[in-house]
Each structure stands twice: as C-alpha cells, then as structure tokens.
C-alpha cells in the first residue's frame, strides 16, 4: 500500500475573461502521506485556495485545470480521478465563512444527514440519528434540539462545527480545510483546531490545511508547503522550516509574525505587494521583494530542489539566508 494518499503533479489553473488569460496556480506539485497533516501557507492571491479546490474539483465553471492529480481511492495506489469520484467518497472540504457555506433554507440536521442518506442508503430516520451522533462527535451541545435549527440561528463556532460534521458524514480519508478558523475569534479558533487535532487522531484522517496564519499551521500540521505567486517555494517538516527557512519569502514571513517575546524592531513587514497574477515577474517571482536577490534570480527557471531529506526549496541561493534571529 503506497505511503502517499494524494499526489499532485504540475497543477495549473487558468481563467480567461475579456480575452485575457490569467494563471493564478502555475505548476504546483505536492503529495500527502497517509495520516499526515500538510499545511499550505501563503498570502492572499498566492493560489493556495485554488489549489485546494482543484484537488476536490470545486473550481468555478470558467476555470481550466491542467495537471496530474492522483488519489488512493480505496487504500491502494493513488490513481487519477474525476471530481465526482471523490465527492462523498474519500475527500471532504470545510470552508472559511460558515454563514455562506451552509444551505440557508435547510435545517443543519438535514444537511449533515445528506451524506449518510446518499452514500450508505440510510432511510430518513436512521440518517437523522447518524447526524445527531456526528454533531455530538464534533462537540455541539444538545445536538437533538440543535439539529432542527436553521444555520442563521447558530453562532459562528457552532456553524463551523456543523460544517465539520457534514464533512465527516461521508467518512472521508482526506479532509481539506480552506482557512476554516480565519473568520472566528481566537478563543473559538483554538476549540476548532483542538477538535480537528482530536478527530485526526481518532479517525486517522489525512488533512490539508490552507491558511495565511503560520501560528495556526504550526499548531496543527506536520509538514508545511509555502506558496508564493502561484507556486510552491519551500516544503519541509514544520519545526525545521520554522527554525531554518530555506527560502527568503519563508524567512520574511517568519519575521513578520508577531510573538510575545519579539521586540518591535525585530518585526519587519515585507515591502512591496504580492504579485498580480496578470503580470507575474520573470524568473523567481519573489525576486522584486527579496533582500538577497541577484541578477540570476530574475532569469532562473522555477524548480523545487531537495536541500536535505524531506526539505525542498525553489531558491537558488538558500545559503545566503541568515536565518531567523530568535
């Protein structure tokens, strides 16, 4: 049985509108080993969310997708798959904004019951019982009563838990998380992360967690992939990447994360703005904002190279990085 549950090679997502073509995801390759939690970090517009949606095939209709996506459907070798194959059979997703992600005209209990009814052929009553179980499992108090309520009658945290319950209703082996905690305030955020951590453990589920918040990724994920300008620029185990970033953008990200003991001058934002997908700079797309940038960087061909076991970077001068003074 291959140790990878998901393999993505040279994924490209492009849109054409008014005669112009834009490619916000420009050649992404990654893989997820069984039971692993992979974090994808990056600023908005880096293509991280589109990458996630390509995996489960929920891109808007005017998007065109190119690339080799393989998934271990029934615990065998990862094989190419069509979106419909995985919907409800293995991959689930939870979104950032719970208010818009739940059908406003359907009771939460009924929504969670959809999965069991479709995939396990349970009748209405049995599916409802299963839904209440799932709601209890995700920590929703008095699930019987809450099942009959409408999304707009629940708090943000509870709605997110309903989202998770719905995702789990199809017993997925891979859960994709598209910044599920960003819209919640910090205290609720921790509860949800705790819940995800616990579910990972109890269900042995693999997770791909997309966020712009490194702290959140650090808490939940085993491995990290940093995305910039529609490409992965660095990957590696979380603590190694935090301790010894191999790409100037990762280093810059680290220094811009406020932590209690960091002093004011250590905090440096990154000057310039994230690249506009319509006009990516040539060569290394971080070069215009990179403090170590050299001429070769502006013409370098993008390629993820191994730096050490399980560590890759797209930077051609990783050795120049002084590392984080912490």
């Amino acid at each position: 049985m291959s140790e990878h549950i998901l393999e993505v090679r040279d994924l490209e997502v492009s849109f054409t509108a008014h005669g112009q073509t834009v490619t916000p995801v420009d050649g992404v390759s990654l893989s997820v080993t069984r039971g692993e939690a992979l974090g994808i970090a990056g600023e908005s517009g880096s293509g991280k969310s589109l990458t996630l949606k390509s995996i489960i095939g929920l891109l808007p209709p005017n998007a065109t997708v190119v690339g080799d996506l393989r998934y271990a459907l029934d615990d065998e070798e990862p094989i190419p798959y069509a979106p419909a194959d995985v919907h409800g059979h293995g991959i689930s997703i939870i979104f950032q904004e719970p208010m818009t992600a739940l059908n406003p005209t359907m009771r939460v209990g009924d929504l969670i019951a959809e999965g069991p009814r479709i995939h396990h052929g349970l009748d209405k009553k049995a599916a409802r019982v299963k839904a209440v179980d799932l709601m209890r499992q995700v920590g929703i108090p008095t699930p019987e009563r809450r099942a009959r309520m409408w999304p707009h009658q629940l708090s943000g945290g509870l709605r997110q838990r309903v989202m998770i319950a719905a995702a789990l209703s199809t017993e997925p082996s891979l859960l994709l998380c598209d910044e599920p905690t960003t819209a919640l305030d910090v205290s609720i955020q921790d509860q949800i992360l705790g819940l995800l951590q616990e579910l990972r453990g109890s269900l042995g589920m693999s997770v791909v967690f997309v966020s712009h918040d490194l702290a959140v990724l650090g808490e939940l994920c085993d491995r990290l992939a940093i995305m910039y300008g529609g490409r992965i620029v660095e990957t590696g185990p979380v603590d190694e990447v935090f301790a010894d970033p191999q790409h100037p953008y990762t280093e810059a990200l680290m220094t811009s994360v406020p932590s209690f003991d960091a002093t004011a001058e250590q905090l440096r934002g990154i000057d310039g703005r994230p690249p506009d997908p319509r006009a990516f700079p040539p060569g290394c797309r971080f070069a215009p904002r990179c403090q170590y940038a050299r001429d070769e960087c502006r013409s370098a061909v993008h390629e993820l190279r191994d730096v050490s076991a399980g560590r890759t970077t797209a930077c051609i001068y990783p050795e120049l990085i002084q590392g984080v003074k912490r």
């Binding site: 689930s92 818009t100 999965g115």
Partner: protein, 314 residues
Amino acid sequence: MGRFGFVAKRLLQTIPMLFGIVLIVFLVLQITPGDPARQIVGLRASEAELQEVREELGLDDPVLVQYVRYVGNVLQGDLGYSYKSRKPVSEIIGERIDVTLWLMGSGILLTVLISVPLGVIGALRKDRAADHVIRGLGLVGLSMPPFWTGVILLLLVAIPTGWFPAGGFGETFPDKVRSIFLPALTLAIASSPFIIRGLRASIISVMESEYISTARSIGVAGGRLVRRFVLRNSAGPAITLLAIEMGYLLFGAVVIETTFALPGLGQGLVLAARGRDLPSVQGYTLLFALAVVVVYLVSDIVTAILDPRVEIEA
C-alpha cells in the same frame, strides 16, 4: 403565533388600500362621461324623466355621500345593481369569474411549466448555445403584443387545424381545456420571458454560492442538488417576479379575453365601460384590485414560508 400574526398584519394592510381604490374609482368615474340616468331610462327620455331617476337613485347627492353609501353596501356584499339590467352586479360578475380564473390559472401554470425548465437550463448551460437560444426567444416573446400573438395563434393554429375552438369557453371539462389553451399560451408567451430571466439570474447567483460547493463535496449531485439546494433558494425571487407579472396579466386578460371572445371579467369590463354601466365598472374594478392584492399576499406569504430567515418564524 408568528405566522398568523404576519398574515393578519398583511390582511389589515390591504383594507385601507381597498378603500383607497374604491374611492379613487368613485372619484374617477364621476368625471367620466355617460349620464347614468340616460342609460337607465333610455336614449329618447325627456329631461324631466331623467331627473326623476337621478333623484330616485341619489345620483345627484354629493360624491362623498354616494361613496359612503356604496362602501356600506359593499361591506354587506351588495355591489349595487347594473343600471341597465337591474341585475345585481355580484351576479353579473359571478357568472364571469370562473372564465378568468381558468385563464389566469392555466396562464400561470403554462408560464411555470415553460419558465422553470427553461430558467434552469438557461442557468445550468450558462452562455452556451441553449442559453442563447432561450434568451433570444425570450426577447422576441417579450416584445410581441399579446393580442397580435393571440390572433396569429388563432389564424395559424386554431382554424386550420381545428384542434382548438376559434374562441369562446367550452361547457364540458375537455372543451374548457381546449378553449383555454391558446389564450393561456398567449399569456404565457407574454410573461414567461421575465420569469425565465429572473429565475436564471437567481439560479446562477445561487450556483456560485459556497453552500453549493459544500453540497457537492458531500456527494449531492444532479436532480437532488437542483431540487433540495438550488431551486429552493432561487424560488423566492422567482415567485415574487411571478406576482409582479400577474399584475400585468390582469391587464393582459382584458386584451386576451377580447381577442379570444372569452366571457371573462376582462371582456365584461370592456362591455360595461362601453355601455357606461357604472355599478358594473365599479364592481369589476374592485374585483381586479382585490385579485392583485391577493396575488401579492399569497406570493409574499409563500416566499416567507420558503425562506427561514424571514422573521415571521420568531
């Protein structure tokens, strides 16, 4: 109590409106021509006889006095007597209601049967061949004058094929269906484009929402997705559009009933106005206004029922 309170509140709102409409009709009809007395007594009657009748019917009383008396009668269900036939107006109108109900009912049914599928197809196949064809037909349908459509349907369909009568309203159920089909189709052609466009727009915006992605991700697809997720959320705006459209349909009924010689309220109104039979005209006006109010009320309540977010539930 939430639900019934909401309905009761709505009903209470309509009462002043209906009084308003009756007042306007009353005032408006006072300045219209056609001396009612002459209609009752006869074209050759002398002034003396006309004056006698005016006093008898209180036509010379001040307008407000007549209005209060009229409203008093209406509240007891007495819509007055037709000047000419001395038949109660409620009876005259009563004979014609079912024809117009048939026309409006089948008109709406056809509109729905045409608009919902085409609206859904137009949305699901956005900007592809089917979508453009549907919208093109919609544009044409929208700009065809209903009576023109009616006459063409009669000449090109009814008379050559004989499947439909050339007009009038049947007696047996099958005859009624056959005689109401083309007029209802004419109504549907005039109103479907708007419903299709509205439904298509709201379906598209629903399809782009995130809860559809959620539904898809848990394996909901095809008819189940459309039925339980898409249509239920796009129904509200579509029903409202249908209600607005029905306001126009009532005017359409006047034209279409005349074109197809359907003895409904529309043609009744035309003949009553032509014969200057004021009580009948007032009766028809009140009924039309009531119909429009009821239509909006029903659509409002149905929309509220469908959308849990609306407060009536609280």
